[in-house]
């Protein structure tokens, strides 16, 4: 079984060569030449440096279209009109499935008809040269964002193509994104990606790695997200990665979100070796959005407010058109500017909210508990431990579509809107912590005059898109006006 050990150089080379025969563009990758290329890029495009040296949270949208010229135009627009500090290149779904042939058909159709026949940028098909044209045309660092279980060829091509930041990981791009890929398989594939990033790092080109923190984006309890993020950073560190950005997706309760971001920063620094530089990323609400741009702007702004208080290094913004489909560039830039305005108005204010410390302490306890569980399952090896813990259900993610996770744990909000666990299934957790969750949930049950049930979970899943934080039955809960 797999272990958390560095892939030897010759093994790295062997896989790399084999991979590059998978699609014609693979042949253009030349590591030595790529190092030179990265060295030639200006300081404003050195991703890790820009991110790590920022004073205020940097903003980054999501965006990817099939054609190179359109992608350049889109990113340039988001940079200049949206004020994005960091840019993304979101990869299409065929590429994520390693279906480069289908992606090629889509890309060609897009080139002919001008239609968006793919839901992202097929970077493998564009090849090293296409990627570099993009990197050169746009005046900000760009990250590859995808959702690809086997992202090895994509990494080889985009790293050589000048990208210096790469989202994903063996768990976070498996469990929420796919059904049949086994965890052991994705672990192996991501060890390669991380090892390749490590190889660049050794040569002075630090590739930033960002685990996908929000997982399924739907009421994920903070400690689960944080633990998985830390594990992915540890796995990356083993392979030589030195710049990591674990992330967390807004749940909408300000106290819990601020506490979670603080716990994430603290624990990641604690669990990772000193030579790894940790930055954090906050994702604006990743669950279902209201089908109304005006209301969506409210959701986005609450994210901005939270970011202003917790001050993560980076914020991934949403657009007001999130509900509907891939946003227009104007809406995407709008989401950036709404967020910017809220952050800039609030960030200089001293906003210390009561209860953040207690919530943070709870999140930390839970996270440590999960980390212990993982290590125990792996007899001290985090890679194995993760696989085994998911296998047994001792580690789990709510709403996980993957066969590799039980997906049996069910989250629900408490009476204050914080995400707690209602159905623990086999998730391992201190009995005392479970008791705290239970107490919080029975308080809500009492307020609403109904028992916790899947109905309550479903109501919470819909709540924000229905305009509330908590999915209460009509006419219950709420607060009086008295201050």
């Amino acid at each position: 079984m797999i272990r958390d050990e560095r892939i030897p150089s010759d093994e790295l080379r062997r896989i790399d060569e084999e991979l590059r025969t998978n699609w014609p563009t693979g042949a253009d990758v030349d590591f030595e030449e790529a190092i030179e290329y990265h060295e030639s890029l200006p300081a404003t495009k050195q991703f890790a440096d820009v991110l790590e040296s920022a004073d205020n949270p940097l903003l980054q949208p999501r965006a990817g279209v099939p054609r190179l010229d359109d992608q350049i135009e889109l990113l340039d627009y988001l940079h200049t009109e949206g004020g994005a500090d960091l840019l993304p290149t979101t990869i299409d779904s065929y590429t994520r499935d390693n279906e480069y042939g289908k992606a090629q058909t889509g890309l060609e159709k897009a080139r002919e008809t001008g239609e968006a026949t793919l839901n992202g940028f097929p970077a493998v098909n564009h090849g090293v040269e296409g990627c570099r044209k993009l990197i050169e045309a746009v005046d900000a660092p760009i990250e590859v964002r995808h959702g690809t279980p086997d992202a090895r060829l994509l990494a080889a091509i985009t790293f050589a193509g000048g990208f210096q930041s790469y989202e994903g990981g063996p768990i976070s791009y498996n469990i929420p994104y796919t059904k049949e890929h086994g965890l052991e398989e994705t672990m192996k594939h991501w060890q390669f990606v991380d090892r390749l990033a490590g190889a660049y790092t050794e040569r002075g080109v630090r590739i930033n790695r960002e685990p996908f923190g929000p997982l399924t984006g739907t009421l994920v309890p903070p400690s689960i997200a944080i633990a998985i993020g830390i594990v992915e950073c540890q796995l990356a560190a083993t392979q030589g990665v030195r710049s990591v950005t674990p992330g967390y997706g807004q749940v909408g309760n300000v106290v819990q979100d601020v506490a979670a971001l603080r716990a994430l920063r603290k624990l990641a620094n604690e669990y990772l070796p000193d030579e790894v530089r940790v930055t954090t990323v906050f994702h604006e609400w990743m669950g279902g959005f209201p089908p109304d741009e005006a209301r969506a702007n409210g959701v986005i702004s609450l994210g901005g407010m939270t970011a202003a208080i917790a001050r993560p290094d980076k914020v991934i913004t949403k657009s007001p058109q999130e509900f509907q489909g891939v946003p227009t560039k104007e809406a995407n830039a709008g989401g950036l500017r709404t967020t910017r305005q809220v952050i800039d108005m609030a960030i200089e204010q001293d906003i210390d909210i009561d209860g953040v410390d207690e919530e943070q302490a709870l999140i930390e306890r839970e996270t440590r508990c999960i980390m212990d569980t993982i290590l125990r399952h792996g007899d001290g090896d985090v890679a194995r431990g993760t696989i085994r813990a998911f296998e047994s259900g001792a580690l789990d993610v709510p709403f996980a579509p993957s066969d590799s996770a039980a997906g049996a744990v069910l989250p629900v909000r408490d009476d204050d809107g914080r995400v707690r666990i209602f159905e623990w299934a086999d998730l391992e957790m201190d009995e005392e912590i479970k008791e705290i969750h239970r107490a919080r949930l029975s308080q809500r049950a009492e307020t609403e005059g109904r028992d916790e049930s899947f109905r309550m979970v479903a109501d919470d899943v819909d709540a924000i898109s229905d305009g509330k934080l908590i999915g209460r039955p009509h006419g219950t809960g709420g607060v009086g006006n008295a201050d």
Binding site: S93, Y94, R96, D97, E99, G106, A116, T117, L118, N119, G147, P176, Y177, T178, K179, E180, T216, T218, G287, G288, P291, Q321, F323, Q324, G325, V326, P327, T328, A331, F399, A400, P401, G407, F454, A458, V461, D462
Partner: protein, 146 residues
């Protein structure tokens, strides 16, 4: 007698939350639900419908590739000898489209009904009860306005 419906997310789409809610709602409404989960191929839908003698196939797609993923779907069903009511729902186009166009596109692909992502599960349940001529007081009370 409970009627069987097959439910799944087509293509390489992994958005599971919607079908999780749908599964629960259709079950609560008295249907036997065969939930194939995410990333289900056209063939898997056809096999499951046949194997379970289903009366309806409910296809979900959120990620924007529904059109490609559903090309030839009704031929695959026909070849498997499956002739049932078919619905599709979710976020069916890439980008900010006009839903009426989308509806026509998927109707011409062979779907009996097309739902957008604002659809409340109750609407789909009410529609299916009518299409399958299940008359219960509950079905009558429900309003359909998709």
């Amino acid at each position: 007698m409970a009627r069987t419906v097959v439910l799944g997310v087509i293509g390489s789409d992994a958005h599971v939350v919607g079908i999780t809610i749908l599964e629960q709602a259709f079950s609560a409404a008295g249907f036997d639900v065969v939930n194939l989960g995410v990333q289900t191929s056209q063939e898997e839908f056809a096999e499951a419908a046949k194997a379970h003698d289903a009366e309806a196939v409910l296809v979900s797609s959120l990620y924007g590739h529904a059109e490609q993923d559903c090309q030839g779907f009704h031929d695959v069903l026909a070849q498997a000898g499956v002739d049932v009511t078919t619905y599709i729902g979710g976020n069916l186009a890439v980008g900010q489209d006009d839903f009426e166009e989308t509806r026509e596109k998927f109707e011409s692909l062979g779907f009996d009904r097309v739902f957008d992502s604002e659809t409340d599960p109750e609407e789909a349940i009410a529609a299916l009860k009518r299409d399958l001529q299940i008359t219960t007081t509950e079905a009558e009370r429900a309003t359909v306005n998709t």
